[in-house]
């Protein structure tokens, strides 16, 4: 079973056609890079794969569930259980301290707060974010927020990590370390990673590159 499978997916925002008939299959353990110029539809593709956006045509099957037949609650449940998302601009919950932001996916799944916070602290340490646990997102730099978002995505041990420009706000060395962590911790457990990026060094982490231009796939090559 594919971790996620998009077939013939199209999406428009009003009159802006963001994606046109795009297909993408990600196998268990596979790392796929989605690349292409600004505005070509990369983030839209990621949001469709995560079931955050509903495909207007075509089909998205996420960890075995056809999202067309799933209501918002069911999609949110699949996302919480199986998907870790790092959005392009960090997107932490503003009123929650960093530690609780990272623990949130576990808390929502019903884990005991103590346990959830301990796991969150472990991931904050692994991504290399060294701030007091009570720090609020507004007190973080852009790069630190990105590290916290990555820790939050990894805390549940997801089957699928979807990362949108996960290293854009980080310096080269920190960016490489974070990528290593995203890829190795996920694939070691048989999970898959989709990396959206402009950065060639990020694309070069992948087993396969899918390149978009103006909403369509223009090149798809195996790198491994």
């Amino acid at each position: 079973m594919s971790t996620v499978e998009l077939s013939g997916v199209s999406h428009a925002y009003g009159r802006t056609q963001a994606l046109r008939d795009v297909s993408l299959t990600v196998a268990p353990g596979e790392v796929v890079a989605v690349t292409g110029p600004s505005g070509c539809g990369k983030s839209t593709l990621l949001l469709l794969a995560a079931g955050v956006l509903r495909a207007q045509s075509g089909r998205v099957v996420l960890t075995g569930t056809d999202l067309a037949g799933a209501d918002e609650a069911a999609r949110a449940r699949i996302r919480r259980r199986s998907v870790g998302i790092v959005l392009q601009f960090g997107q932490l919950v503003p009123d929650l301290p960093v530690l609780d932001n990272v623990a949130l996916p576990l808390l929502l799944e019903g884990h005991a707060p103590r346990e959830a916070r301990a796991a969150a602290a472990g991931w904050l340490d692994r991504v290399g974010l060294d701030v007091p646990p009570t720090t609020l997102p507004s007190e973080l730099s852009g790069g630190q927020a990105q590290l916290a978002a990555a820790a939050r995505a990894l805390v549940t041990g997801p089957l699928l990590v979807l990362a949108d420009e996960p290293t854009a706000s980080l310096d080269t060395a920190t960016g490489r370390q974070l990528l290593d962590l995203l890829v190795t911790s996920t694939t070691a457990a048989g999970g898959s990673v989709v990396l959206v990026s402009h950065d060639n060094a990020v694309a070069a982490r992948a087993d396969r590159e899918v390149r978009l231009r103006a909403g369509s796939v223009v090149h798809e090559v195996a790198l491994s």
Binding site: N200, A201, A204, R211
Partner: protein, 181 residues
């Protein structure tokens, strides 16, 4: 440089003087081609059956030998453009030569850029997966290679942005058309 001369001949039959000027126009920031090198290369192409003399022009001035690509020459040119340039070291200049030659000749430019991109990314991936020795010097050498691969990749992206859409691309003329302009 042999194949680049074939690309310079692909548009139309030319004499040595034309080839030099065409080359210098394709690569305005490079060292101009020396006449001696052009004539030596043309003689070699002719000897190897990749180009042939089609005419001797005088145009009132000195006598000039006009060369055209043979079918074998065109095959060789296409084979050259079907292969991405080596992804490291002295590869950089070859990438520019191949991309510019593909653009001018119209031989499968998108395919070329796509293959070259994949080849560079594969090399980058390989390097990223095999850390260099622990020494600072080894790391610096490695970083230099990675930075150059990245620069080439960015430059290739620029090339795709400037590409005409596939429908507008001019096919290469056949040997017969070329030799009877």
């Amino acid at each position: 440089m042999t194949e680049l001369h074939l690309a310079l001949l692909a548009g139309a039959p030319r004499h040595g003087y034309d080839i030099k000027h065409e080359h210098d126009a394709w690569f305005p920031d490079s060292r101009p081609l020396a006449f001696g090198q052009v004539y030596a290369t043309l003689a070699r192409l002719q000897r190897d059956g990749l180009a042939q003399v089609v005419e001797t022009r005088t145009d009132g001035g000195p006598e000039r030998t006009v060369y055209a690509l043979t079918e074998e020459g065109e095959r060789r040119l296409r084979a050259w453009l079907a292969e991405p340039a080596a992804a490291a070291g002295s590869g950089a200049d070859e990438i520019v030569r191949k991309t510019i030659a593909a653009l001018h000749t119209g031989i499968d430019v998108r395919g070329f850029v796509s293959r070259q991109r994949a080849s560079h990314l594969r090399r980058m991936r390989e390097l990223q997966r095999n850390p260099p020795g622990a020494g600072a010097a080894e790391q610096l050498v490695r970083e230099h290679v990675i930075a150059h691969l990245d620069a080439d990749l960015r430059w290739l992206e620029l090339a795709t942005e400037l590409l005409p859409s596939s429908g507008q691309q001019q096919p290469l003329r056949t040997a017969t058309e070329r030799n009877n302009p």
